[in-house]
Symmetry: C3
Subunit: 431 residues, 3 copies
């Protein structure tokens, strides 16, 4: 029965409710190593990022997909990866992940990362979009906008941009922290804050950005204030286009990185008006995040104020605050959570996270995500490691006589796909 | 030997040092579902609270007590429950829990919940009382009391009310948070705060309560500002008397919900004067609790100031702050803890909590509680799940060669009953 | 293969990168009991500190080293310990720990505790020193120093004192909390703060110390403001010299306990100038520590500001914030961590901590320490329990097919010794 349950979970079609595109580029060793860590610092000469749970998981689970034995060496793995080429690697790793529907957060869409169309083409499954609030606001700013028009212009842009989107995302955890004033700012406050933001930007010389503003744009219309997980764009560009320094890709002017807490709140409240499920990055991430200020419990005030809207609040990732997130999901009908990203980076330990998510959170409130960005190994492992962890946790419940196998399979199907289909109103999969 | 240890723990007589009454009423499905969650929000139509660890545990462990197979369906379970009737259900579930002494927190004693006499009658074992400080204060206020007399009147009422009580309880975690000023307020501060509280109440029209005050009273003498675990009384009444809306049970005036931090501190310090073990709700609970402000570490200042009194400080439940509570129990002789409530709601995962409680806390500082309120399933599972979790954790220590079986049995007996007998000065059980 | 891995880890030579001296004195039962807890309160009459994970671990693992069966009684154990005498006990317990290099934190060097020379003599392995910043500053103050000269005098003393040292240590977590302003104080601020500190001390009568100052000195040159783990010196002296009250050992004047946050920051920044790896006590410890203010996440600001120095930041112990520390080690190249002290006090549960340390922290960032002080049981168990916990965690990874046995052995060797050799620039062990 444990074997049956494991097989059931291995073959379960998944909805990945928060993911980014895979890279279509080949990657040097340095680029690959820097993309399998959340750190944006250079990897010190005395270490390799393969010496991590994620590194070990790549060698264990991705190597066989590329035709190698499990536990290959990093050198063997990267040589095989280079020989096969990015397209074939993507085809194999994405194809073997068993994901049947992607909700792609497209906060950053350069040539190096596949967009919804590219992902759909490679994987052959539906790909819907999740729109990042901050990116829309930064595009409004970049297009030229007065302070008094900002709120209207942002709302118009958001509605236009999300006509077919399935959800919204905010990176307020990176830009300010989750400890923001949960009340809705007044129109006057928004105009005043927009004036500060837009005015500062207008008067700042292009080569002397305000402190902390490091983002750049790759072209005139797209502002890439940071990457998929909040990474700084100069880093990501630099990594993927290994030979070219980040600055070479920048057109000489700075991005509109939005960090003003009044405006960030305004985006969130406008997002609640829009009514699509609203995703919050919480917990573990790159060094931009102050982990103390990324505890989902800090969202309690907003969650309570947002209850009348009925908008689903999606707490992403949550490591190491999984139990705190579970409490919120228990207390408030709107709150859901996943343990993505943490599962990928904890590898052989991922069952510890999945286990905590199966404590006080109602089972209808749990979802699957990978939060993968770039190397298809992250997409593959997000699913693979989650399946293995879930099979261990649920298998243990069954083996100990606490749950029936039928209950375990049913909960696995809810968490893997059913809950996401309900929340995001996705159509049923093709037979 | 593992089987012997499991059997020993299964048959261990327990002292439940923090519990509320069982309901003597039959329950509709809606009422039952709402009573097996800490959330006070309506259960959304797209989910059932049976899809939770607690729900699965009911179907696994309570179903056989009612004559069904383990893992019955919710429909089967509730049908059988209805057929047997509340009295028989209580007799079976409470009887099979193996509790030999209850310390009943009687913050709310309506007809729907058994009081000490009723619980003693159903179970045939001793039931002693734990008195909630806030309830006593609210009764003093409701009886008519001037600000200048409040401190004296409260002390008199507390001493009178606790003549045979075994302990005191505070829900300051719900009413304010544990981040209160730990120093004792001066007499003048208390009088001033009492003036604000009593004055506000007197001038507030009955249909325009101050913000946040939602509680009501069921009769002229009892103030039910909230329920057993801090729940709002309107909710609890509504749930149990399923057909009758909450307001129908209210006599048309509002309760004296005490939330003033100066008065809450005053109650605690008067409680320390009284000298009975003082229980603090900490951690997980209903949405009224801000979990960030329910971390027991916030009590450090009070614990240090209270050391000269020698009063035992009982940290209740503590999820997910079990390790923090363990640190306090390690550092300070007066501090004890339990993992009740969390065990009930984490079900098959309860061993994770019990394991954390057996880290840095001295074994003489750990107690058992269920924190059950209402359905006897909660009383039953509080004990049953705790036994199973403890047997797993201690059994693993023994199997790994770290502990002897004799050490394990001895610690189980300390935590299950011996420590509570010492702290609350309970007489030995009847042979 | 699991057996092979366990044997490999059992025999792995370790570098203990944060440890204190063993006591060369025999210990009464009371003294022994008080030294196997972090609490500085008297042990209540109704409990014994043997009723703890550490107590059980002593009876399980140290008893056989003294010729007893595992799980001996406390009485048997202490009788055998007394018969053998402290020298023989030290020889056996230290010898069997398998530590091949000690980095001894010498913040307190009385006759009762072995210094580097004594430890090297008993163990026959290299012993290098880690110098406590606060002790050096307090020695400067005790030697007579004007406020204006303090910064220079402290720097001179630090360089002189650390000519052969391998690292620095700060107990700012005990003296203030990790929530200090991370910026470097100006010279004027340091002089002003030094004036307050030195002036207060000069004017305070010897029998009326400022509030909170309890430390004393044992002689004119050494200030023992607290013990190895931040313990108050009166306690430690009292415990070890069981017959003599603490005050009898004090020469009649009070110590220079440094708690000023400006000066504590100045010490840290001067320590960063010195350039040796800088150890921070974080997490669990004696009651002096406010655990809420000992979360390593509070160091994020300092870590970022210190990045240009390249100085390794060593987060010690971290319980229960192991995952938070792991995030910092993941994000910042300079940050390392260990789970010492927590392993010792969680005994049979230590695998839970070691498991958490092997989540998001890169494996090149993990080290081993015991943080032992006094009874050689703590030195022995720091190593023994860590080996057993690591073998369980890694053995499980291998048994589940997630890691190869070779990967597990390699990571064990990195964490047990290799990483410490790299960080502290230790020479290779003798063949």
């Amino acid at each position: 029965m444990a074997a049956d349950l494991t097989e059931f979970i291995d073959e379960l079609p998944l909805v990945d409710h928060h993911v980014h595109g895979a890279t279509a580029h080949d990657l040097s060793r340095r680029a690959f190593e820097e993309l399998i860590t959340e750190s944006d610092r250079p990897v010190p000469a005395w270490m390799t990022t393969f010496d991590s749970q994620l590194g070990h998981a790549i060698l264990r689970h991705c190597a066989p997909e590329l035709g190698l034995d499990p536990h290959a060496s990093p050198e063997e793995y990267l040589a095989r990866r280079a020989r096969l080429g990015a397209d074939e690697v993507n085809r194999r790793l994405l194809g073997a992940s068993g994901v049947e529907h992607y909700l792609l957060e497209t906060g950053y869409r350069g040539e190096e990362i596949l967009g919804p169309g590219g992902m759909a083409e490679v994987t052959g499954v539906p790909v819907d979009e999740v729109v990042r609030l901050e990116q829309v606001a930064e595009q409004v700013a970049a297009s030229g906008c007065g302070a008094g028009a900002f709120a209207r212009r942002f709302a118009e842009a958001l509605w236009e941009r999300t006509r077919t989107a399935r959800g919204l995302k905010t990176v307020v955890a990176y830009r300010h922290g989750l400890d923001f004033d949960p009340s809705r700012p007044s129109a006057a406050e928004v105009t005043e804050a927009a004036g500060r933001w837009l005015g500062e930007r207008e008067t700042a010389p292009s080569d002397e950005p305000p402190e902390g503003i490091e983002g750049g744009t790759r072209d005139g219309t797209e502002t890439g204030a940071d990457g998929g997980s909040g990474r700084r764009p100069d880093r990501r560009l630099g990594l993927v286009q290994d030979a070219a320094p980040a600055t070479a890709a920048e057109p000489g002017r700075r991005g509109w990185r939005l960090t003003d807490p009044v405006l960030l709140r305004h985006l969130i409240w406008t997002g609640l008006d829009r009514g699509l499920p609203l995703q919050f990055h919480t917990g573990f991430g790159d060094p931009d995040v102050d982990l103390r200020r990324a505890d989902p419990l800090l969202l309690r005030g907003l969650i309570e104020r947002a209850e009348p809207t009925g908008v689903p609040i999606m707490l992403l990732h949550c490591y190491p605050y999984v139990r705190n997130a579970g409490h919120l999901a228990h207390a408030y009908p709107a709150v859901h959570l996943d343990v993505g990203l943490g599962v990928t980076h904890t590898g052989a330990r991922a069952a510890a996270l999945v286990g905590q998510s199966l404590e006080v959170a109602p089972f209808a409130k749990l979802l699957f995500s990978s939060d993968a960005w770039g190397p298809a190994e992250l997409h593959h492992l997000g699913a693979r490691l989650w399946r293995r962890a879930l099979a261990r946790v649920l298998g243990w419940f069954v083996a100990e006589g606490e749950w029936s196998a039928g209950q375990a399979a049913r909960v696995a199907a809810m968490v893997g796909a059913g809950n996401a289909r309900r929340v995001y109103e996705l159509t049923a999969p093709r037979p």
